[in-house]
């Protein structure tokens, strides 16, 4: 499922998201390109999730313009999304991971073989026949990661992938993300865990009140953000 065309850069021009008439996000303009891990940080309710969903195409953009380097159809098959609360299909682990491949017309046997490889890679190798719905929280998120990575996406979005997970599970998931990044997957994830942002980020997007306030290389951001809100956020103050 390797896509020959690189789908990046992703360009957002003045995009806005409204839901039931309420302004949620924007206007946001940014360009996503290059390699590595971009981490979206910001207070709760600032629009992190909506930004990711809008980039991926889950949330409808009410104004502005979003464009990948390739057609939307080509871009769609080269990206994956991992949700904060992993969505477990009522199937076993193997069929969950194989599902995106089956949707794309890969025959079931090959899809299951690929799923087994990915299950082993995320540490679910011995659980392929278990029902996905009875896995632990960490296992569910690992399954969701494997299901996102099985299509070899160029861009992987993750919305708070480690929320509600213990340290061990978080460590395992971060290791998987590092490995995916090393394989060339461009990662965009949100977190409210600044420690995680420090561990993973190459680039930080600070979001506040529906605006992307700043985009800086991680080292520069943590050394001294440009905006007062980001400085307050890093300080642990409530940012209103």
């Amino acid at each position: 499922m390797v896509n020959d065309h690189t789908i990046l850069p992703l360009t957002l021009q003045e995009i806005m998201v409204k839901r039931r008439g309420k302004h949620i996000l924007g206007p946001v303009s940014l360009t996503l390109q290059g390699k590595g891990i971009s981490v979206v940080v910001g207070p709760n309710g600032s629009g992190k999730t909506t930004l990711l969903r809008a980039m991926h195409g889950l949330d409808r953009i009410s104004a502005g313009h979003k464009a990948w380097a390739v057609s939307d159809a080509q871009a769609h098959v080269a990206q994956s999304f991992v949700f904060q609360a992993p969505i477990m299909m009522r199937r076993n682990v193997r069929d969950n991971i194989a599902y995106p491949l089956v949707l794309r017309g890969v025959n079931r046997r090959d899809a299951r073989a690929a799923a087994d490889v990915w299950a082993a890679r995320v540490g679910l190798g011995s659980a392929v026949l278990r029902a996905a719905t009875v896995l632990s929280g960490g296992e569910k998120q690992k399954l969701a990661l494997a299901r996102a990575l099985v299509t070899a996406p160029q861009v992987l979005f993750l919305d708070e992938p480690c929320a509600n997970l213990d340290g061990h599970a978080t460590q395992e998931i971060e290791a998987i993300l590092h490995a995916a990044c090393a394989d060339g997957t461009r990662i965009v994830m949100s977190t409210h865990d600044l420690g995680q942002a420090r561990r993973l980020a190459d680039e930080v997007l600070f979001v506040h009140a529906g605006q992307v306030v700043e985009i800086l290389p991680a080292a520069a951001f943590f050394a001294g953000p440009a905006s007062a809100q980001a400085a307050a956020f890093l300080n642990g103050d409530l940012v209103l």
Binding site: H56, L58, H76, V77, S80, F81, F83, I87, M89, R90, R91, N92, Y99, P100, L103, R130, A131, T133, V134
Partner: protein, 234 residues
Amino acid sequence: MSDIADGFATAARLVVSLDAELIEITLRSLYVTLSATAVASVIGLPLGAWLAITRFPGRRYVIAMLNALMGLPPVVVGLIVYIMLSRSGPFGVLGLLFTPTAMIIAQVIIITPLVASIAHQAMRELWADYHDLLISLHASRRQRIATLVWDGRRTLLTAQLAGFGRGIGEVGAIMIVGGNIDNATRVLTTAISLETGRGEFALALALGFILIGLAVVVNLCIHVLSRTEQGSRW
């Protein structure tokens, strides 16, 4: 009370002696209702899933209509199917009136709204779970329906069992379109009706007990089968 006791005794005697006529009408009951349930499932399950995932103007009215049709009076359905299939009706040339096929057609009309409506309820919940994932993966409409129906198959079984339950005990429609003809269209319910009219209460009761037993056995069989298919619960 003695009538009921006699009924039990007669039922036991008929079952133990494998009464040929009893077996024939029991099998016909099963044939008619299982066929109708199968056809209603093929129509109703995807329809329920489709209604769960599709937004269109008037959708709520379609669902309200479907729910209302669950209470469709079998006698009226029987009458309409009778008129359609009668010699002078639009489908008269098919010569289906007073055949098991006509009975199946009538039962499909009665059962399908029930199956579709229950399927819709089940699919709506599953769709709420799966919505973001399937949108993210760009599943086509057909793939979404197939996924929901497959992953929701255990809850959909309830819809099918409800349909079967309504069909197997139904007498109004199949009496009209089947005619309760001996050796041709007589089934358990129409036989009960006939025997009651003749005053043969013991025989009618016996057939009634067998009908109840049949419904229970079919339900149990399907439960056991669906559980052994995969060990885990969803």
